[in-house]
């Protein structure tokens, strides 16, 4: 079963993601911010990572950069989840190493579709 790590400081958003992903047959693990996300990745592997941008402690950009520096996760697809409409933000996420993005609010089908596009 494909394992997906969701990183978001909003419990609501984590719950929404979990609901959609579990229904689509994924296994979901969660983290509440970038620092926690790295901790979780240290303990369990993820096939795809979905991360928010605005988070305390370590934001999405920093998190993505840190993940890409880890040899184990250089090839792991990372989707950025954001409401940001600022293209500069999208580019920053890409520069950090994001594979793709999902716009909030998302439809469950589109979320799953995006995962399919970047993952095996």
């Amino acid at each position: 079963m494909m394992r997906i790590l969701t990183v978001d400081d909003s419990r609501t958003m984590r719950d929404m993601l979990r609901l959609a992903l579990v229904k689509a047959g994924f296994h979901v693990i969660e983290a509440v911010d970038g620092v926690h996300g790295l901790e979780v990745l240290g303990q369990a592997n993820a096939d795809v990572i979905i991360t928010d941008i605005n988070m305390p402690r370590l934001d999405g950009f920093g998190f993505i950069e840190a993940v890409r520096e880890d040899d184990a996760y250089r090839a792991t697809p990372i989707l950025v989840l954001t409401t940001e409409s600022d293209p500069a933000k999208k580019n920053r996420a890409r520069e950090a190493g994001a594979t793709g993005w999902i716009v909030k609010p998302f439809h469950p089908e589109k979320l799953v579709e995006a995962i399919r596009r970047v993952a095996a």
Partner: protein, 734 residues
């Protein structure tokens, strides 16, 4: 849709927290203590509210939050300066956001006028022209109000995807219309973002039959091959029916990371090995724990005699994921779990039953004559300790920080202050202090009252303050702390202090105090809690609300709490409220009074005495006092006050509990026999009946019978009243 409703409930819970964070952050900024992380946190709070609201289609909330967020984004990026007047606007904007959240929660509507005028104000700041204020905007700031939230999707959201219809595609003849030719050359940066050429080709494969041609002309000799570089490019031919946008969408994520051309032209029908490979690949999704390996395989260019690992940079970066990490196959420990509060309440009830049962068992063991050193008695002792341990742990689960109550107070303070033209800064401390849920729910009213009182009565007007040599802005401190197994709430103002002369005069005028009474300063201060004491000409509709401090004190006492005030003329006053940490259990002294078993809360007992007849002195027609060392303490015969017996017994025939009541005074409660000390589980009388004067609550003793828990302060107060109503009947006339 139950799950969605549940998440929605979570969202509103989270909103409460976010609104609290938002306000706390803004207050920090107002106090000049905010740094960039504070501004970020403030932004995030509004951003998260908006994000969640969008997920549930709460459009009004999204629209308002969007404007608010846009302004905060300007502050965050430094294009708008966080001047004090802006922070004050943001605080009010936060209040409106709270109203909008509340409206969304109740499916109601917020005050449209208020929202609209707040939006106008926020937009004016965004535009760099704050309403009714000098622009305080950095040059680069003049940023137009962002378009409504819907624009978000357009910018880089998903477009509708073409439907995958491989079976329908024509099998044979050459297309009448020219097909699509897509040439695609990934840059190294594409791989660095974990995108893969293979997956992009697969996406195209979903659009219909494809022919794929690999161009490895750029592939250098083996010794010149750099693992991080990208050398390969592909040409893909698609059916003419395929939508161009669908093709572009397939490359959406890699825009800028590859060279891409999409054109219509005649294609040669050459089969390539790769196309076949690809077809088989997209037909059979990779199973098993290591999908990456299967997926990447087609990337290995066949003619090159190097292991695929070296040729595709991705491959080099990805170690076999299966063995090492797969061992940790469980989700990581999560910081918190969420539990339906009813389940915890049920658990606490059950543990309460366990405590009672354990006590019943212990009592029977004693009745059956087992020695305390017997195995069974010792086993029971251990059981008791375990039971206590379980009880403490379970209670700790339900403990909550007082933050949830505190976070409503800044808004209250702002509103009260602006209503009466005072300036106040609320400082809060100890918001993380934890108490049982049963107490949290009861803290709000008294704190609200004390705070209103502090601002309304305690603080002076700005002009009075300036005249007194104080800054025009008053400071009210709201603090929570643990002390002596209780939670203490302090509300301290730096206002004028209590006008003792006047309080004393009012008490005398209302017949609450003898004109010649000598009272300490503290006793005078606490006169404001007397029933019937209402500083009528000073009570405005702010602190008044038709409720005097006596009512606040009564409700606090009903919870086993105390409230008092101390004052320093010209410097301010401090309200101190203390409550037990839980309303679920209580340590009590079990006594017999006129054949009834009563529990007296241990916290109010100073000591128990066996008075000698000569220590008891009559005072007045029915009263009596007890000489305790150097002072006289009023005697209270609990049995007659509660109507359990007609006439008082001689205190020397029973025992006396010396108790301290809320205003620091002492009284001597007369009982017949002390049975012992015990922790009891508090059971509400109000759940099924109502409050009974003189009784705080009930409990269930070891024999399974209900015993009443004495409300010490009330009983003392009832004794005081007695002389005024000489023949109190057992049940007050209706």
């Amino acid at each position: 849709m139950d799950e969605l409703e549940e998440i929605k409930a979570t969202f509103f819970q989270e909103c409460d927290e976010l609104l609290g964070d938002l306000e706390a952050g803004l207050l920090q900024m107002e106090a000049g203590e905010g740094d960039s992380e504070t501004v970020n946190a403030v932004f995030r709070a509004v951003h998260s509210v908006k994000g969640g609201a969008g997920a549930f289609g709460l459009d009004a909330l999204v629209r308002y939050a969007h404007v608010f967020e846009t302004l905060l984004d300007g502050v965050r990026s430094g294009s708008i300066e966080a001047a004090p007047e802006l922070v004050r606007v943001l605080l009010r904007a936060a209040d409106v956001l709270a109203d909008e959240v509340q409206a969304a929660r109740t499916n109601g509507r917020a005050d449209e006028h208020e929202t609209a005028s707040m939006v106008a104000e926020l937009e004016a700041w965004i535009a760099g022209e704050p309403l009714g204020a000098e622009p305080v905007v950095a040059p680069a700031a003049a940023k137009p109000a962002a378009p409504p939230a819907a624009a978000d999707e357009d910018d880089f959201g998903f477009k509708p995807m073409a439907v995958l219809i491989p079976d329908v595609a024509p099998i044979d003849e050459a297309p009448a219309k020219a097909g699509w030719t897509v040439t695609f050359k990934p840059a190294a940066s594409l791989y660095a973002k974990a995108n893969e050429a293979g997956r992009l080709l697969r996406e195209l494969g979903r659009l219909g039959p494809v022919e794929v041609e690999l161009d490895d002309a750029d592939l250098p000799p083996l010794d010149a091959l750099k693992p991080e570089e990208a050398y390969l490019s592909w040409t893909v031919r698609l059916e003419p029916e395929v939508d161009e946008q669908a093709i572009r969408d397939a490359f959406e994520f890699v825009d800028g990371d590859c060279e891409l051309t999409i054109s219509r032209e005649d294609g040669a029908n050459e089969e390539t090995d790769l196309a076949a490979l690809l077809a088989s690949l997209s037909a059979a999704p990779a199973p098993g724990p290591a999908p990456l390996e299967v997926e990447i395989a087609p990337l290995a260019p066949a003619p090159v005699a190097v292991a695929p690992v070296e040729s595709a940079p991705i491959r080099a970066a990805a170690p076999a994921p299966a063995a090492g990490r797969a061992a940790v196959d469980h989700a990581p420990p999560q910081a918190t779990i969420r539990v339906d509060p009813e389940r915890i309440d049920r658990l606490i009830d059950l543990v309460g039953e366990l405590v009672i049962n354990q006590a019943m068992l212990a009592q029977r063991v004693v009745q059956h004559g087992f020695a305390p050193s017997s195995d069974i008695a010792m086993g029971l002792d251990e059981l008791e300790q375990l039971t206590r341990g379980i009880q403490d742990s379970v209670m700790a689960i339900r403990a909550q920080p007082v933050k949830s109550v505190f976070q409503r107070m800044p808004r209250l303070a702002r509103e009260v202050a602006s209503q009466i033209g005072k300036q106040v800064r609320l400082v809060m401390e100890g918001e993380g202090t934890e108490v049982d849920k049963t107490v949290i729910e009861r803290l709000s009213d008294p704190i609200t009252h004390m705070l209103r009182n502090a601002i309304d009565h305690g603080l002076e007007t700005p002009s009075e303050r300036i005249a007194a040599g104080k800054p025009p802005e008053g400071v009210v401190r709201l603090a929570a702390l643990h002390r002596g197994g209780r939670i203490v709430i302090e509300v301290e103002d730096d206002g004028r202090g209590i006008n003792r002369q006047r309080v004393r005069q009012i008490a005398i005028d209302k017949g609450l105090l003898a004109a010649d009474a000598t009272l300490t300063d503290e006793e005078v201060d606490n006169l404001i809690f007397l029933p019937g004491f209402s500083t009528a000409n000073a009570v405005s509709d702010i602190s008044g609300r038709g409720v005097g401090m006596d009512v606040v004190r009564r409700s606090v006492q009903a919870l086993g709490g105390r409230i008092s005030i101390s004052s320093r003329p010209g410097e301010g006053s401090t309200f101190t409220l203390s409550l037990p940490l839980t309303l679920a259990v209580l340590d009590g002294m079990v006594v017999d009074v006129a054949g009834h078993t009563l529990v007296v809360p241990l916290t109010s007992i100073i000591e128990s005495l066996r008075p000698k007849p000569e220590d008891v002195r009559p005072l007045g027609p029915t009263g009596a006092v007890l000489a305790v060392r150097d002072s006289y303490v009023p005697l209270v015969d609990v049995g007659s006050v509660l109507g359990f017996r007609k006439s008082s017994v001689a205190p020397s025939e029973g025992v006396v509990l010396l108790v301290e009541h809320e205003d620091g005074g002492r009284a001597a409660l007369v009982a017949d026999v002390i049975q012992g000390q015990r922790q009891v589980v508090i059971k509400s009388l109000e759940a099924n009946y109502r409050q009974v004067e003189g009784i705080a609550a009930a409990t269930i003793l070891g024999d399974g019978r209900v015993a009443l828990i004495l409300d010490v302060d009330a009983v003392v107060a009832m004794r005081r009243r007695e002389p005024r109503a000489p023949e109190p009947t057992l049940h007050a006339a209706e």
